[in-house]
Amino acid sequence: MSAAKRSLLARALDDRIFVAVTSAVATVLLAAAAWPGLSDYRANIVGQLACFALLAVALDLIWGYAGILSLGHGLFFAIGGYVAGMHLLEHSVAVTGITPDIVQFMGWKALPGWWGPLESFPVALAAALGVAFVVAFLFGWVSFRSRVGGVYFAIITQALTYVAMLLMFRNDTGFGGNNGMTGFQAIFGVPFQSPGVARGLAVASLASLVAALVGCRLLTIGRFGRLLVATRDDEVRLRSLGYETLRLKLAVWCVSAVLAAVAGLLYAPQVGIINPRVLSPDLSIEIAVWCAIGGRGRLAGAVIGAALVNALKFSLSATLPDLWPFVLAGLVILVALIFPNGLLDIGRWRPTLLSRAGALQPRDATP
């Protein structure tokens, strides 16, 4: 009986791995904010990892908790990234007066007039979150309404980002085509090369990650979270207990999309470019891979997976770029076959299970 009466905060601390990972991220955040020895290069890498981790948390929220696998979260990430790109280009022009390259290669005279309002950061932030929300809501509504789920939903989301990628590759679409947007000069009035910009962006990314972790944790341990898990386990059962699962799924889907857009918003300034490659189906599948490798439905697993895989990718891409795809493929197959719950399972894994890993496997909660 005591469990029900304990406060939300107390229950939030129940999951030791979650607490450990969140504290670790918070520690890195403090270090990034205060440690003088941090180079811009490292700050930038930490910031990018935080963005990927945030993206993975967004996906874990819907896949791990609600059982909805999206293979198209790159779309929402790209929405954030492109809005950030437009904001930074407008802002760069306002601060430096230099015409950016995109104007030349798109054959424009100046940046499109309708980008103007995005020069203001609050407008850009609202636009990124708003567009991500609207797209997610429309797509989610038509999909969930017609009870599209499971593998069907996954491959339709994949087709969605694939089509978006083809669209963005075209110059006519008006967002820089193949080249995308680059050549950002200034952020919040400060030139990009100034000391502290990389660090500031890393701190912002880490802070967003911590906030997302805590927020999602509170969201998932409450009643809403239990209903999500119930949707995942048996949606028909939940509906015939009087719950409109459409609303539940739509809500968590939109929250997840908005989080992914925030990740994209933070990512674009850190890599200095946004182009249609973030919409490639491979990136979207990789997000799911991070969650699977780290462990689904725990939030912490998503952070671990995203950070580990991308740290490995950064180091291997520099030294042995040809080897990386093989390592990634091997990791995925290893996790799929031996650690069904990802690396969080390592503690429970016994070598005898190797031959029939199915014994401990949970079922996907999909019809």
């Binding site: 239990r226 119930a230 995942r232 386990d233 028909v236 509906r239 015939s240 207990l241 719950y243």
Partner: protein, 236 residues
Amino acid sequence: MTVAVLVEGLTVEFGRFRAIDDLSLAIDYGEVRAVIGPNGAGKTTLLDVISGVSRARTGRVLFDERLELTRTSEAAIARAGVRRKFQKPSVFEALTVRDNVEIGAGGARDAAARDRIAATLETVGLAAEADRLAGELAHGQKQWLEIAMVVVSEPKVLMLDEPVAGLTDEETERTAALVRRLRTPGRAIVVVEHDMDFVETIADRVTVLHEGRTLFEGSMARARADARVVDVYLGR
């Protein structure tokens, strides 16, 4: 007295297969109605249509003589007070027993709701297991948990699809006692079951379905005496 569930001219098709064929049926408040018949007679499909999971091709299903169920969503049907236990035990395995029942109660958190949840857990004998994960329960316990999930909302129509399938004799007896206790004047209970002794223990009336149509309606004793029922279902 109003009829709890009124089925009129109901036809359900899956492709070319006609699962229910022009079926009409009335279930009253206060009665326990058993729906029996051979496999493929349309018993589960009937429950599917009443609970909104499957859609009818023609015909209508009225709840409480006011709500047309064939045009109402599953969730709205459940909220109106028509609840159903599925054939395969359907509980939320990743949640605790208490969470499961709480979800069944509609999420109300007030003292009355908490008392009702505790009482329901007591009734089905799962009070001691309240904080365990539902996935860890034994098969019989899952059956009872699912019954708890549907009865905690105090439904007006309660549908139980094979509540004693796979249970031991002792568990079956306990389930029968539970069903008798759930019978109130304001509630109609529909039971689909193959265990004839269980049916005889609980049912006020039985409806025998065969190939999507009603073959017989009346008491279990008369059903046992009916030649056609014996032929297609009960056997000699």
